[in-house]
Point group: D2
Chain length 414, copies 4
Amino acid sequence: MSDVRDISLAPEGERKIAWAMKNMPLLTSIGEEFERARPFDGIKITLSVHLEAKTACLCRTLALGGAEMHVSGSNPLSTQDAVAAALAEGGMDVHAYHGATDGEYVKHLTAALQCGPHIVIDDGCDLTNLLHTDLRHLLPGVIGGCEETTTGIIRLNAMAKDGVLKYPVMAVNDAKCKRLFDNRYGTGQSVWDAINGTTNLLAAGKTVVVAGYGWCGRGIATRSAGQGARVIVTEIDPVKALEAVMDGHTVMPMAEAAKTGDVFITATSCSSVIDHRHFELLKDGAILTNAGHFNVEVCMAELEAAAVLKYEARDNIVGYKLKNGRTVFVIGEGRLVNLAAGDGHPVEIMDMSFAVQALAAKYVLDNKGELEPGVHKVPDEIDGAVASRRLAVSGISIDSLTEDQEKYLTSWAI
Amino acid sequence: MSDVRDISLAPEGERKIAWAMKNMPLLTSIGEEFERARPFDGIKITLSVHLEAKTACLCRTLALGGAEMHVSGSNPLSTQDAVAAALAEGGMDVHAYHGATDGEYVKHLTAALQCGPHIVIDDGCDLTNLLHTDLRHLLPGVIGGCEETTTGIIRLNAMAKDGVLKYPVMAVNDAKCKRLFDNRYGTGQSVWDAINGTTNLLAAGKTVVVAGYGWCGRGIATRSAGQGARVIVTEIDPVKALEAVMDGHTVMPMAEAAKTGDVFITATSCSSVIDHRHFELLKDGAILTNAGHFNVEVCMAELEAAAVLKYEARDNIVGYKLKNGRTVFVIGEGRLVNLAAGDGHPVEIMDMSFAVQALAAKYVLDNKGELEPGVHKVPDEIDGAVASRRLAVSGISIDSLTEDQEKYLTSWAI
Amino acid sequence: MSDVRDISLAPEGERKIAWAMKNMPLLTSIGEEFERARPFDGIKITLSVHLEAKTACLCRTLALGGAEMHVSGSNPLSTQDAVAAALAEGGMDVHAYHGATDGEYVKHLTAALQCGPHIVIDDGCDLTNLLHTDLRHLLPGVIGGCEETTTGIIRLNAMAKDGVLKYPVMAVNDAKCKRLFDNRYGTGQSVWDAINGTTNLLAAGKTVVVAGYGWCGRGIATRSAGQGARVIVTEIDPVKALEAVMDGHTVMPMAEAAKTGDVFITATSCSSVIDHRHFELLKDGAILTNAGHFNVEVCMAELEAAAVLKYEARDNIVGYKLKNGRTVFVIGEGRLVNLAAGDGHPVEIMDMSFAVQALAAKYVLDNKGELEPGVHKVPDEIDGAVASRRLAVSGISIDSLTEDQEKYLTSWAI
Amino acid sequence: MSDVRDISLAPEGERKIAWAMKNMPLLTSIGEEFERARPFDGIKITLSVHLEAKTACLCRTLALGGAEMHVSGSNPLSTQDAVAAALAEGGMDVHAYHGATDGEYVKHLTAALQCGPHIVIDDGCDLTNLLHTDLRHLLPGVIGGCEETTTGIIRLNAMAKDGVLKYPVMAVNDAKCKRLFDNRYGTGQSVWDAINGTTNLLAAGKTVVVAGYGWCGRGIATRSAGQGARVIVTEIDPVKALEAVMDGHTVMPMAEAAKTGDVFITATSCSSVIDHRHFELLKDGAILTNAGHFNVEVCMAELEAAAVLKYEARDNIVGYKLKNGRTVFVIGEGRLVNLAAGDGHPVEIMDMSFAVQALAAKYVLDNKGELEPGVHKVPDEIDGAVASRRLAVSGISIDSLTEDQEKYLTSWAI
C-alpha cells in the first residue's frame, strides 16, 4: 500500500503531470508503442528518482508497457507530494513524501523494493546499494538496472571494480542523448532561470564568473553571454582555458576573478572553488551560486565561519556580512541552484534522459542473460533512436548516406 | 492617515525594499546627495506608481531629500501590501492595497492628493487627470509633474494640444536612460524570465515568433537567439523587417509564422496581432504571450470564443482547446507577461528609470516658473548625469574630448 | 569623347560589372522598370562616385531609364581603369583614370559637367562645388542633385545656410536604407574582411578595441564578438558607453584599453583618438586600423614622429618600431581600412544605397520646380519602396495592417 | 644543394617569414629554449609540409635547436617560391618549387631524404611512404616521425595494422591543441575570410547551408551566425543534427536546403554531398564552396556535366549556367576554399599545431628506443605544455588544485 503525504493532492498532481506529459513527446510516443507491444508485461520495476511530474511521466510510460511499478523518490526534499499522490491515486505503489527523515527515506526505498523487482531504475545508486546489503535476498530476481547520475556511475564502477556488483547496469548518465544535452542546454538555461527568478536582477552588463569549462560550464557561459553578460572563466586545465579564450571569454584565476565578478556560478565537480581565500576579495553585493553537485563548490562552512552577520535577504537568498563590511549573497544554500531555487531541468531535457531510461530498461530486459554484471554503455542504437525520434516529433528530416557515399567512406577508412 | 491592508506585513516589506535598494546604486547615491542638500524641504510630492519594492526606493529617496511623500499605487493588482505597510510603518502617507475596487482605487488617489502637492509623479496620467477634473481646486499649488509611461505621455500630449494641461510635465518615459534600456534589456530579459519560470520549458531549439521589431521586439529577439532559439520576426514596416533579416532572423507574415512557431511574443503596441485568422493554424501546444501593452495583441476575446474547452494547465497558464483538436496555451491572460507572470523589469532597470524620475522632479522644482505648461523633454544633462553615475558606480571610466578634438569636431561641423 | 586609361581593359571591366550586377537585384529590377518607363529620356546626368563595378551598375541603370550619362570618379585612387574602360566602350562619356593628379582630377570633373547636366549625382560635393564656382554658367540648367556622403551633406548644409546653394539636393546619405545598413552591416563586415585578409591573423581570442559606439562602432563590435573576440569599447558619451556595457562589452578609456588591446579599430569621426598619449602603452605587435573617415583617427603624423624605424611588414601593413622597443602595425596607412585594404562595402549594401540614388534622382525630376534650393530629406516612401523591393527580391513577405488595426492605432494616438 | 625556383626572391620570403614569426609566439619561445638547450644537435630532420611562411618558422625553430634541416613541400601548388628561397638563402637544404610536376615533386621529396634523416615530419605520409618503398635502405637510421594530417594518420594506421610501419610516428593531427583549435577556430574563420574576400558579398541576412556538424561544421556555423547569417545544417547523424537544432540552427535534408540556400559550405569528409540530385534545385546565384578535403564534396564532375555554359565570373569564381537557366557559382574549383581562395589557417592556429610538431619531434628523440613502431598519441603533457605556454604568452594565468582539492577529487573517484 502506498505511503504518501496526502492523497487528496492527487488532482493538483495530475495537472502537473499533464503539463509535463504534453511537453514530453518522446515519452508520449514511446508510451504509445509500449502500450501496443507490452514489453514489460509481468515485469516488476522499482524506481527511485526525484519524484516530481517529469519522473511521474516515466513511471506511467513504463506502466503503459505492462510494468508493475514500485516507486520511491531519490531525495526527500525533491519529492512533490501532489505528484506522489496522483501516482498513488492512479493505483501505483508509491512510497515517498517531502521532508522525510533519513530513517523514513530508507524505509521508503526498502518498501519499494519489497516486491522483488526485475529491474531497478536508480538515481544515485541507493537502490543498488540496498540490494547489495540489507536486501541481498532479492538479488537473484534482479535482471538488471539503469543509473541516471554521475555519482551513481562512479559508485557502480567502484563496486564493479571490486567484483561485488551482481547485475548489469546501464550507464544512462553517459548516453549522448543525456550528457550532451542536459549539461549544456539544460543546465545552461535552468541555472539562469533560477538566478533571475530568485533575484529579479539584470544579467545584461554584469560580469559573470563561471568556474569550470566542462560541458556544464560551457552551457552556462554561452547563456551568460546570450544575456549580455561579460563572462570570466576560471579553469585548472590549460586546454579548456584556451578554448574559453577562443570562445571570446576572459580567463583568469579565481583570486583575480573574485575581485571583479558580480555573479559567480561554479560547475567544477570539485570542492572549495570559492572559499576563505576569496571571500574578503568579493565585491559588496556579489552573488554566489553553485551549478555543480553538492554544496561544497562554494565552501559554505567557511563562509558561515567568516560571516559576522547572516540574514535572509529574499526568499532563497541569504546575505553574509563579512568583516570588511561587505555583504555577499548565496542562493539556495550553495546547493545545485537550478534545483534549490528553480524547477530543475526543462521538461524537454528530461524527456530525452527518460526516453533513454525507458529504452535502456527495455534493453536490459531484451538482453536478459546476455549482459555480464557490471556497468554497460548505452548502445549507440538507443542514442540514435532517441535523437531520431526527437527530430521526427519536431517535424525535422535529415539526410542518409547513398550507397556510393557509404562506399566512399568505407574505402577511405581502409 | 495611511490606508493599507495589513500594517503587520511591514517587516516583510522592509526586507523586499532592502533587497531592491541594495541593487539600486543610482537611487542610493542620489539619496545620499539629497540627504545632504535637502532640495525638497517643504515640498509635498504625490506619487502614483506600481507600488512594489523598487517604487518604495524612489519614495524613500525623495523623502531623504526632504519631500513630504503621499503615495498611492497605479494599479490595484500590482500593489504589494507588504511594501505599502513598510512605507506606512515608516511614517509615510500611503493609500493603496492589492485588489482594491475601482471605487477604492480612485478614493486612494484622491486621498494621496488631498495634501495639495507641489509635484506629482504619475504612471499613466491618473493623478493629472484627477487634478484637472474633480480636484481642480488643487491645481494652483502644483509646480509640475513627471510621467513614467508611454500611455501617460500620449494622454498628456492630447491635453496639451487642447490647451487644457495646466502645468509642466517631464516626459520621463522618453528619456534615453529609460527608453533605450528598459525596452531592450529590461523587457528582453524579463519576458523570458517570466516564460521560462512559468512553463519550465526549454528555449533552446524552439522556434520563437516575435511580433514587432521595435526596441522591445529587438530586445526579445536578441535574448531569444541568446538562448538558442530560432527567431521569426513579423513586421509591417519594410525597413524594420529588413533590419531583422540582416540581424540573422527569419521574417514572414504572421499567417505563415503561426504554422511553425512554438512560442509567440507580441510587442507591437497594436491590436489583434494574433487573432481568429491565426488560431486554427497554430501547432498543438503553441504558447502565446504578450510583451506589449494591455491584453489586445493576442485577441483574447476571439480566442475565448474559438475555444471548445478552457482549463488552467499550470499556474498562470490557461489551455484553450480548439475545434481542430489542438490546444494552445496563454500565459498571464495575454497581459504584459513580465508583469502578469513575473516580477516586472529587473531592479537595475528601474534604478535607471527612477533615477531619471528623481532628477526630473528636482528639475521641475529648480525651474519653477520657467517651464511652460505642457510636456517637456527630459534635458540631455539629466540623461548624461544618470548614465555617468551608473558608469561610476560600476567603476567604469570613459574618455572625454581634448581641446584639440573639440576644435576638430567644431571646425568639421562648420 | 571619353578619357580613360586603357580602353582594351573593357572585357575585364565587363566581367567585374557583370558580377556586381548579378548581386544587385534592386538596381536590376529598377533598371527593368526604367527601361519600360524611360523616365530620364532627354535628361543629362553627371555622376561623380568612386568609379568601380558597383557604381558602373548605377550608371547603366540610369542609362536604361533614358539618361545621357557623363561619368567621372570621386577619388583618383578608387577609380578602376577596367571598369571605366567598359563604360566608355559601351558608349558612355567617361572621364577618369586611376592615379590622376589633382589637376587631372579637376579636369575630369569639369569635362563630365560640360554637357550641362540636368541632374548631378555627387559623392563629397565636388560637382556641386564646381557648378557654384568655375561653372556657374551651367547652374540654370540644373534641376537638382543627389549626395552620397556625410561629408557632402555637411558641405551642402553649410552652403544652404549661407544661402548660396542654388538647387535642391537629396540627402541620400541620410536615407534609412543607406545609413541603417551600410554603417552596421556594411562597415561591420568589410572592416573585418580587410583586417583578416591583410593580416592572416586569428580574430578568435583577440582583444579588440572599438573606438566609438555609433552605428559603425556597433556593427564592428557585433562582428568582432561574432568572431570570438573580446570587445573593449571606448566612448565619450556616457549613454552610448552604458549601452555598450549592457551589450556585453567592456568599456574603459583609451589610455587603459591601449595597454590591453590586440587590434584597434577607430570609428568616431573625431581626430587623434589614438595618438602620442597612447603609442608607448601599446603591446608589442598591436594592430591599428581606422574605420572612420580620413586618416586622422589614428594620428599618423605623431606615429611617424614617434617611430625609430618604419618598414613594410606585409602588403598594406607598415610596422612602426617605437623607442620602447615594441613594434606596432598600421593597416592601409590609417585610412578607411575597408577601402584602403579591401573592396569596400559588400555589393548588396551598395545595391541599397544606389537604389536610393536612382529613385532619388527620379524624384528630383518628378518634382522639378517643386523643391526649393537646399538639402532635402529622402522621402519615407523611397525608403519604404527600397526596403519592400529588397524583401520582395529575397522572396520575403510581411504583414500589413487590417482596417481594424489602423483604426485601433489611430484612436490610440488621439 | 637546394633546388628552388628563384633565389633572388629571398628578401620577399624573409618579409613573409618575419610577419609570421612575429605572430607565432609559441614557436618563438620554443625556439629560444631550443637555442639554449640544443636538443637536436647532430640530428637530421626531413620535413615535407606546405612550404609557406608559417612552415618556414617551424623549420627555423627546429634549426635553432641544432637540427640539420632538409625541406620539401607537401603540395607543389602550395609552395611559395619566395619562402623557399629565403630558407635556401639562409643555408637550409630546400627542394621545392611552385608548380612542380608530379615527377619533380617526387624528386624533391627524394632529395630531401637523401641525407638519411633521424626524424621525418610529414604532411600526408609521403615521406614515410618513400622510406618504406624506394628508400628502404634509409629506414635503419630513422628514429621516428610526426604526422600533421588526418589523411596521413589513416594511411599510417593502415600500415601499422599490416605490420609494415617500421618506426614510431606521433599523431600530431590528433593532439587536442591541433584538432580542437584548427577545425573550429581556424576553419571557421578562414573559410569566411576566403568567401568574403573572393566574392565581396554581404554575409548578413544570407541563408548559409553548412553540410556536416562535426568540429569544422560547428566552427563554420558559429562564424556564419556571428556574421548575421541564418544557418541551415544538414547531417546524417541524428545526435549531431539535434545538437544543431539546440544550438539555434535549422536542420533539413540537403534536397530541401538546396532550394533555399544562398551560400553552401560542405564539411563532411564525404563525397557527393551536393551533386546531380541538387543542382537544378539551387537558386540562381547560389554559391558553392567546400571546406572539407579534396574536391569531391561538391561533385565537380557532375556539375561540369550538367552545365550548359561555364565561365570565370570573378577571380577564383566560376559560373555554371544550368539547363534551367540559372547560374551557380563555385569558388576555388570546389577545393578546400580557405586554401584555394585564401591564405589557409590563421597564423596563430598554425603556431599551435607547429608547437605540437616541435615538441613531438623532441619527444621522439627523447624516447629513442622506447617507442614501438606504430602510431602514437601525442602525450597529454605536450598538449598541456602547448596550451599553458599559449596562455602564458597571452599573459593569462589559471588556477591549480590545492592539496585539499586533489584529495577531494581523488576520494571522489574511488
